[in-house]
């Protein structure tokens, strides 16, 4: 059995790290609690890490009944596999469920699957379908339904089907490969991959991977809401709102562990957070979908506490190694050394995140290995630049004109300048920036999170990869990454990960200052509605007290 999820009893590595930071006073206790509980550590255990006893918690248990109004964009629905916004998926989560789910602590948990196993080199996956699940039209949920959905995902001829890319190890010429799926019996199926891909299960937790009934065709999962979940849509008006209610004619497989609310209303209030604020003040909404910037505090001030999710989304301030002088590892390392990532987080992103370590693997990734982080030494940085004969060279850091991205690069450049190295800042408008983002000598790119540490490394740092904007080509790195891709167990993979992360640091690939946190504000009586790192709104678990 090689489940990818961490054992429930094991403490997350980052939790210990945060505990020591908290004891040293680098982290406030409140911050510590938010971060550590986000990693799946229970509150009493988190207090235990600090050597304190947990305060008596107020009894707040979920009750049946009640309703909730939430601000969220309501976009025109379309075929789930072509969803390009999480909001589209969130509306349908009450009746369209997933095979597996990605949790706030970084683990993958079974939903419509009961369990899964991978073979030694992660090329054959056996999936066990959860018994006793029925569709809300009465049909039983079987392995054939799973196979049908995987076949749909593999169909690359459908425009905008982003699942096709995630299922590439199962497909051939844009369709499901012959023999890729074997249906062993009603509740078991086997996937035969062309190459090792440990991310295949994680990809099935992604929002376009909603499981639809075999009769589903066309474009609108709201008009024909056959699903396995406990809710059903009442109305859905693009740009205005959607109403969902508990389905009285269907017995949910997970009955008793959710479906507390009678009714959920999504209200689309446009993109201006000031309008959400006004709606919250007059009592028209109970929670926001995502709050950013100063509005996190503003909502708190009117009685809607914030919930934070640590994510592996980040800004990669990378060097392109195809452009001199960045082909010289000493130059790259010197510039890294001139920058203190904590300061960048504070000035560039208002401290709304966690400090990162220049290797693009996040503590919430299951295989994250703890290695000594980057060194901050501006004096040494200046010496190294002079030793390379670049004392008078003027570096240039390019960024897009987006608010926080520009601020972050400004703060990186300011520190490099403070170390006595000449640097110029260039800010380009979005329309120009994206035309050439792969080739700028020194610039920054926003990267969204992937559940596994190897996924971004595969996309962005493997030699010759189409999104390899760093121009990084290292045979040893590629070989280690290949090896890691074939190990399904996160603990085993971590040993190789430590070497991979070390290579990233030794080669000075990028300045990666922080991991962004995401926020949402909700009224204190709403339970189980914490922010999710991939924006999931699982209202089937929300409750009011």
């Amino acid at each position: 059995m090689t489940h990818m999820k961490r054992k429930a009893t094991e403490l997350h590595r980052a939790a210990k790290l945060y505990a020591s930071e908290c004891k040293e006073g680098k982290l406030s206790r409140r911050e510590f609690m938010t971060r550590v509980t986000a990693l799946g550590v229970t509150a009493p255990a988190a207090y235990g890490l600090l050597g304190l006893a947990a305060p008596e918690a107020k009894a707040q248990t979920a009750q049946m009944g009640g309703s909730l109004r939430m601000q969220m964009d309501i976009k025109a629905q379309r075929d789930p596999r072509t969803w390009d916004w999480s909001e589209l998926a969130n509306v349908c989560r009450g009746w369209l469920e997933y095979l597996v789910s990605y949790e706030r602590d970084g683990s993958i948990q079974p939903v419509l699957l009961e369990s899964w196993e991978a073979n030694e080199d992660a090329t054959v996956f056996t999936m066990n379908v959860r018994p006793g699940v029925t569709w809300n039209n009465g049909d039983p949920f079987t392995a054939a339904d799973v196979a049908h959905n995987i076949e749909r995902w593999c169909d690359a001829s459908v425009e905008g089907n982003s699942m096709a890319g995630r299922m590439s190890a199962l497909s051939e010429d844009g369709q499901l490969r012959e023999g890729a799926i074997e249906i062993v019996d009603d509740l078991t199926l086997r996937l035969n991959l062309t190459s090792p891909d440990i991310a295949i299960i994680a990809n099935m937790a992604d929002y376009p991977a909603a499981v639809v009934h075999p009769s589903f065709t066309g474009d609108d999962p709201v008009a024909n809401p056959i699903g396995t979940g406990p809710y059903r849509p009442v109305s859905h008006d693009t740009g205005i709102g959607a109403v969902i209610e508990r389905n009285p004619d269907h017995t949910w497989w997970n009955e008793g562990n959710g479906a507390y609310l009678d009714r959920i209303e999504f209200v689309d209030l446009g993109t201006d957070p000031a309008a959400w604020m006004a709606a919250a003040e007059s009592g028209e909404i109970d929670m926001t979908y995502q709050t950013t910037g100063d509005f996190v505090d503003l909502f708190e001030s009117i009685g809607l506490p914030a919930s934070e999710a640590i994510t592996a989304a980040t800004l990669a301030v990378r060097f392109n190694q195809g452009n001199p002088p960045y082909d010289n590892v000493n130059v790259r390392r010197a510039l890294q050394m001139a920058v203190n990532n904590e300061v960048v987080l504070e000035l560039g992103y208002n401290d709304r995140g966690t400090v990162a370590e220049n290797h693009h693997v996040c503590p919430i990734h299951p295989e994250y290995a703890e290695i000594p982080g980057p060194v901050f030494d501006p004096a040494r940085a200046r010496e190294m630049i002079e030793a390379e004969g670049l004392g008078d060279h003027e570096f240039e850091l390019i960024s897009i004109d987006d608010d926080w991205q520009a601020a972050t690069c400004d703060s990186v450049a300011a520190q490099i300048r403070a170390a006595g190295i000449n640097i110029r800042r260039t800010i380009l408008p979005g329309a120009t920036f994206w035309n050439d983002w792969l080739n700028y000598p020194f610039s920054s790119t926003e990267w969204n999170m992937r559940p596994l540490g190897v996924q971004v490394l595969n996309l962005a740092y493997r030699s010759g990869e189409s999104w390899n904007e760093a121009g990084f080509a290292n045979a040893e790195f590629d070989a280690l990454l290949d090896e890691a891709n074939g190990i399904a167990d996160a603990d085993e993979r971590r040993e190789i990960m430590a070497q991979i992360q070390q290579i990233m640091l030794d080669e000075g690939v990028l300045i990666q200052p922080y991991w962004r946190s995401l926020y949402r504000n909700r009224r204190p009586n709403i339970l189980n509605a914490e922010m999710h790192p991939t924006f999931e709104v699982r209202y089937q678990h929300y409750a009011v007290s």
Binding site: D84, E159, D237, E281, S282, E284, I302
Partner: protein, 363 residues
């Protein structure tokens, strides 16, 4: 009179034709079509997928041909798939599936307004629902704005240069010089915030139950209009239009008050209120009447800002959404409606002018 009406309707059609062509041209430049494909088929699709989407949905024909399709003078596009199924503009609009079942032409002239790509619904349905919402807003704006403006204007113009005139004029100038996006925000901050402005004081004194006095968001007015959720958007639009009409009324009133017949009436001993109401008012209302009618299309501008600010889904909000998502057929229909509103109000103003001023005759 009939000739006049016929000429007016002719002008209206010509204007609508020109305007829709401009809108059509601007929404159909290649970059805009790419945006449309990406909002429809997925924001991260490749260039090849964009091209294939545009091809499959009939967007790759010459622009003039497609404008003709929309008007209904050119047959709609059709395409036969590999398996013999026929799709096309008219098949989608009529819901026909059998080859040959759909009409040849299906444009404006045949009564088809097309489908909104943003709302995935027939344009006629979207426009009528949203116009209804804006109708309520405009109705209340007119009910508040017109009497207030006339009262302020008449009071100020009765005695030119008096203290009443100076203070009311100042108020009128200030209100018309404040754009909606400023006054709306000021209103929300003053009256609809639980942390600043008036509401925290009222809560402290125990005068109101909820955290805020007025609602700074008018979404709930879609289901039920109340004083508390509709006051701020109505006030925001009304205040802006009011100042202007009050100024015109004042100017017209002061002019009338210097006329000889007013002096004659005074000399005959008619009381001042009687002079204002009986002798001056009707003559002073000619100019404001035209301005009020001209102001209605202007208010539609304000409606865009106010409806977006207060997230009230009406016509202005729809226009904003359609423009932001390059919803071609919805934008075209919205511009036709805008032309209609402008010309119908002008027509009313011309006819009303004749009624108020017997010296003018329509020929």
């Amino acid at each position: 009179m009939l000739l006049f009406l016929a000429r007016r309707i002719g002008v209206m059609l010509a204007t609508a034709l020109c305007l829709t062509f401009v809108v059509f041209y601007l929404t159909n430049i290649p970059a805009k079509l790419e945006t449309l494909a990406k909002t429809q088929a997925g924001s991260r699709i490749s260039d090849a997928e964009v091209a294939s989407w545009l091809d499959r949905n009939g967007y790759n024909q010459p622009m003039l041909v497609r404008y003709g399709e929309w008007l209904g003078v050119v047959p709609g596009w059709t395409r036969t798939d590999g398996d013999g199924a026929v799709t096309g503009r008219c098949y989608r609009l009529t819901g026909a599936t059998e080859p040959g079942a759909a009409p040849d032409r299906c444009g404006l002239m045949q009564g088809y307004w097309g489908n909104s790509t943003r709302f995935r619904a027939p344009v006629s349905q979207v426009i009528s629902a949203r116009l209804g919402a804006t109708g309520w807003l405009m109705l209340w704006v007119l009910i508040v704005m017109v009497p207030m403006a006339l009262i302020v204007g008449v009071l100020a113009g009765m005695r030119e240069g008096s203290r009443t005139d100076r203070s009311l004029s100042t108020f009128a100038i200030a209100s018309t010089a404040t754009p909606e996006y400023v006054s709306g925000v000021v209103f929300i901050a003053l009256l609809a915030s639980s942390t600043v402005g008036l509401s925290p004081l009222l809560v402290q004194w125990g005068w109101i139950d909820g955290p805020v006095l007025f609602q700074g968001n008018a979404r709930s007015a879609l289901e039920k209009i109340t004083f508390w959720n509709f006051a701020l958007p109505v006030m925001t639009i009304a205040l802006y239009g009011m100042g202007y009409i009050a100024r015109i009324t004042r100017a017209s009133m002061t002019e009338v008050m210097t006329q000889q017949y007013i002096r004659t009436a005074r000399l005959k001993g008619v009381s001042f209120p009687n002079i204002v109401l009986r002798h001056a008012l009707r003559n002073a209302l000619i100019a404001p009447f035209t301005v009020i009618m001209l102001q209605i299309p202007w208010l539609l501008n304000g409606v865009v800002i106010v409806e977006v600010l207060f997230s009230y889904p009406g016509f202005g909000w729809t226009l904003f959404e359609a423009a932001a998502n390059n919803d071609i057929e919805l934008l075209l229909a919205a511009s036709v409606v805008a032309v209609l509103v402008v010309l119908v109000t002008q027509l009313i103003s011309d006819i009303g002018y004749v009624w108020l001023n017997p010296r003018i005759r329509i020929t």
